[in-house]
C-alpha cells in the first residue's frame, strides 16, 4: 500500500513565462493553469452577479408601488431581459465552470486539465460573449424580448434595434466556450484520474460535473441552432420565425426549450455535486446511498430531454402532448426527491458543524424543496394554464435558481474558499451574510407566489392598485433591498478575508477528497508531486486513516464554528 504515484506535469504551464515569478496582469491574461482560469471564471461570475443584481434592484424599485414611473416601459423590458440572460449565462454558468475547472483536476489527483489551452479558450469565449451582450447598451439598446426571447418578439419588426443581434452573437460565442470546456472536462475525467480511482467511485462533485457535461453537449447545439436561424432571420431576412411570412413562432419555442429545460438541470446538477461534498464533510459521515445519488443524476440528465414542452402548455398543443409532458415532468421529481432524502440521510445522526457553508446547504434543502413542490404543481397543465406568465412562475424559478443553484454555489464557495485563497473567513461575517441573504430572498420571492395566484402578470412594467398588489409588491421590494445589501457583504467578505483572513492551512475542514491533499493552500502551480494510489470517493480521508498523508491530519486542527 505504500507505493506512491508520480503525477505527470503538463509540458509548459506558462508558455514563454517563468513559473515562479509574479507577472501581474500578464500572468492572468496568458494563464493556462486550471486554477488561475478557475479563479477568473469565479471573478467574472461575481462581476456579472453584481451587475445582474443591480438590474434586479432597479426592476424591484419600479415595481415597489402601483402605477410607478421610475423606469420607462422600454427600459423595463431591457432590464428584465438582461437580468435573466446575465444570471443564467454569465453568473451561474461561469461559476459552475470556475469550480469545475479548479476542482475537478484536484479531486481526481491530476495536475492539469486535459487541454489547458482549450480551457483558456473556453474562459475567454465566455467572458467576451458576456461583454458583447453588454455592448448592446451602447449600440442602440439591449435585447428586450425576455431571456427566452420568444418569436416573433425577437424579430426585426418588433425589436428593430440591434439588441437581439448582440444577444444572439453573445450567447453563440459563450456557448462555443461552454461546449469546449465541457469536452475538456469529460476528457480530463476519463484520462487523468489517479490510477486506482474508478469511474464508479468518483467524488460526487466530479461525477455530477461529468454527467452534466454530456447533458450540456447535447443541449447547447439546440440553442446554437435556434440562434443561428434567428440571426439569419434578422440579418438575411429569412422567415424561420416570422409568422407573417409563413414561418413558425412555435419552432423557436421548441428549439429554445429543448435547450432551455436541460439548461435548468445543467445549472443545478453541479450544485448538487457541491452539496453532496458539503453535507458529507460537515456531518462527518459518508454520503448516504452513494449509488443512488450518482444514478439519479443520470436519470435526471436523461429525463431532462423529455420535458421541454411543459414550458409550452399554454400554446395549445392538444391534450395528448400536454398529458405526456405533464407526466414526464412529474417523473423527474422522483430522482430529485431521491437526492433530497440522500442528503437528509447523510445529515441524520451526523456530528453537524454549522459553518456558513453548511448553513447554505441546509437552507438549500428547504428552499429547493419549496421550488420543487411549486414545480410539481406547475407540471399539472390545468394549473399551469391558470398560473402561466404570472408572478407564481417568477417565484418558482427563483426558488430553484436562487434557493437551489445559488445556495449550492455559495455553499461550495464557502467550503472551498480556504483552498482557493488559503485563508479563512470570519464565520461571524459569514453568518451575517447568510441571514441577510436568506431572509431577503424569502421575503422577496415568497410573497410572489401569492401575487401570482391573485393574478399579477409577470414582465409588465407596472400594475393597477388592486387589493394587496401594492402591499405584497412593497414587501417583495424590501426583501430585494436586503438581498442587495447582502450582495455587498459578500463582495466585502471575499475582498477582505481573501486578502487578510486567518491562514487556513491545507485541510481546515478535515475533509474527504483529494483537493485538500495539496502541500499548500492555495495549491502550488504543480498540484501534486506524488500521491498514494487513491481508492474510493473519500480518497483523502482514507489516506489520513491509514497514515499515508504525511502526518497532515495530525497537524491540522478542526475549525469549530
Amino acid at each position: 500500500m505504500g507505493a506512491t504515484i508520480k503525477i505527470p506535469e503538463p509540458a509548459s504551464p506558462f508558455p514563454g513565462l517563468g513559473v515562479e515569478t509574479e507577472q501581474g496582469l500578464l500572468q492572468w491574461i496568458c494563464a493556462v493553469d486550471h486554477k488561475l482560469i478557475g479563479i477568473m471564471y469565479l471573478v467574472m461570475s461575481l462581476l456579472f452577479f453584481v451587475i445582474g443584481g443591480a438590474l434586479a434592484l432597479l426592476i424591484r424599485v419600479q415595481l415597489a408601488v402601483p402605477l410607478n414611473h421610475f423606469l420607462p416601459p422600454e427600459t423595463f423590458n431591457q432590464f428584465f431581459t438582461m437580468h435573466g440572460t446575465t444570471m443564467i449565462f454569465f453568473v451561474a454558468m461561469p461559476a459552475i465552470f470556475g469550480f469545475s475547472v479548479y476542482f475537478v483536476p484536484l479531486m481526481i489527483g491530476a495536475n492539469e486539465m486535459a487541454f489547458p489551452r482549450l480551457n483558456a479558450f473556453g474562459f475567454w469565449m465566455t467572458l467576451f460573449g458576456g461583454l458583447l451582450l453588454y455592448f448592446s447598451f451602447l449600440a442602440g439598446g439591449a435585447p428586450d424580448a425576455g431571456w427566452f426571447n420568444y418569436a416573433p418578439l425577437n424579430e426585426k419588426n418588433y425589436s428593430f434595434h440591434k439588441g437581439i443581434d448582440y444577444f444572439s452573437m453573445g450567447l453563440l460565442i459563450s456557448g462555443i466556450g461552454s461546449v469546449a470546456t465541457s469536452i475538456n472536462i469529460i476528457v480530463t475525467v476519463l484520462h487523468y484520474r489517479i490510477p486506482g480511482m474508478k469511474l464508479n467511485q468518483l467524488p460526487l462533485f466530479v461525477w455530477m460535473v461529468f454527467v452534466n457535461s454530456f447533458l450540456l453537449l447535447a443541449a447547447f447545439p439546440s440553442l446554437n441552432a435556434a440562434l443561428a436561424l434567428l440571426l439569419l432571420d434578422r440579418e438575411l431576412n429569412a422567415h424561420f420565425f416570422n409568422t407573417a411570412a409563413g414561418g413558425s413562432a412555435l419552432l423557436w419555442q421548441h428549439l429554445f426549450w429543448i435547450f432551455g429545460h436541460p439548461e435548468v438541470y445543467i445549472v443545478i446538477l453541479p450544485a448538487f455535486g457541491m452539496l453532496s461534498e458539503v453535507f458529507q464533510v460537515f456531518s462527518r459521515k459518508p454520503i448516504f446511498g452513494y449509488a443512488f445519488v450518482a444514478a439519479s443524476s443520470v436519470a435526471i440528465a436523461l429525463l431532462a430531454f423529455g420535458v421541454w414542452a411543459h414550458h409550452m402548455f399554454a400554446v395549445g398543443m392538444g391534450n395528448v402532448a400536454n398529458s405526456f409532458f405533464s407526466a414526464a415532468s412529474m417523473l423527474i421529481g422522483i430522482p430529485t426527491g431521491v437526492k433530497i432524502f440522500n442528503w437528509l440521510g447523510t445529515i441524520h445522526g451526523g456530528k453537524i458543524r454549522f459553518t456558513t457553508s453548511m448553513m447554505f446547504a441546509i437552507a438549500f434543502l428547504i428552499e429547493f424543496t419549496i421550488g420543487g413542490v411549486t414545480g410539481i404543481a406547475f407540471a399539472i397543465f390545468p394549473i399551469d394554464w391558470q398560473l402561466t406568465d404570472t408572478y407564481y412562475v417568477v417565484a418558482h424559478l427563483h426558488y430553484v435558481f436562487i434557493g437551489g443553484t445559488i445556495s449550492g454555489l455559495l455553499a461550495g464557495l464557502f467550503y472551498w474558499f480556504p483552498k482557493i485563497t488559503g485563508r479563512l473567513i470570519d464565520e461571524r461575517a459569514g453568518k451575517w451574510f447568510f441571514w441577510l441573504f436568506t431572509i431577503g430572498f424569502n421575503f422577496t420571492f415568497f410573497v410572489q407566489h401569492i401575487l401570482g395566484m391573485i393574478g399579477l402578470p409577470r414582465r409588465v412594467y407596472t400594475y393597477p392598485n388592486l387589493p394587496w398588489y401594492g402591499t405584497l409588491n412593497f414587501v417583495s421590494t424590501a426583501g430585494a433591498m436586503l438581498m442587495g445589501v447582502s450582495g455587498l457583504v459578500l463582495v466585502y467578505i471575499i475582498w477582505r478575508y481573501g486578502r487578510s483572513g486567518k491562514p487556513a492551512g491545507t485541510d481546515p475542514w478535515n475533509a474527504y477528497t483529494l483537493e485538500w491533499a495539496t502541500r499548500t493552500s492555495p495549491p502550488p502551480l504543480k498540484n501534486f508531486e506524488e500521491l498514494p494510489a487513491a481508492r474510493g470517493y473519500r480518497a483523502w480521508w482514507e489516506m489520513k486513516q491509514s497514515g499515508l498523508d504525511g502526518g497532515a491530519a495530525v497537524s491540522q486542527k478542526e475549525i469549530e464554528p
Partner: protein, 176 residues
Amino acid sequence: MIHLVIYTEAFFFLCLIMSFIYMAYNAGFAPRELSRLDIRSAGVYTVVLIASSFTLHFAEMGYSRGKPAALKAWLIVTIVLGAVFLAGQGTEYGRLIGDNITMNGSVFGASFYTLTGFHGLHVVIGLIILLIVLILAFLGDSRSAIRTIAPYWHFVDVVWLFVFTVVYVLPQFSSI
C-alpha cells in the same frame, strides 16, 4: 475528444433537420419550389461524397501500415472528391437562385439553404483539416492527425445521407 465533438455536432444537425421537417412537412410548403430540386445530380454528388469516406479509409490504412505514399495518394483523392461535392452544391445553388429561390424569398429557401449550407460549411472545414494533414504528410510528419480527422469526415458524410433523404428523397413520395 473528436467523438465528443461529433456527439455535440450530431445534436446540432438533428435540430436543423427537425426544423426542416417541421417546416417542410407542413401544409403550405411550396411544392413548386420543392420540385425544382434536381435529385439526379444531387444523387451523383451524394455518391461522390460517400466515396470520399472510403478513400479516406484507404488513406488511414496506408498510414497505419506505414505506407506514406498510399496515405498521400488517397488523401489527395479524398480532397478532390470533397471539392467536387462542394462544386456540385455550388452549381445547385446557382441554378436555384436563377429560379428565384432565395434565402429571403420563402420559408423553403431559408430552410433549404440553412440546412445544406451548414452541412457545406462542415465539408469546407473538413477539407481545410484534410489539407493540413496532407501538407504535414508531405513534410514528413508522422503524427496520427488522420486518426482524429477521419471520424469527423465520416460523420459529415453520414449527416449528408440524412440531409439527402429528408430534402431530396422523401418529398418524392409525398402527395404535396
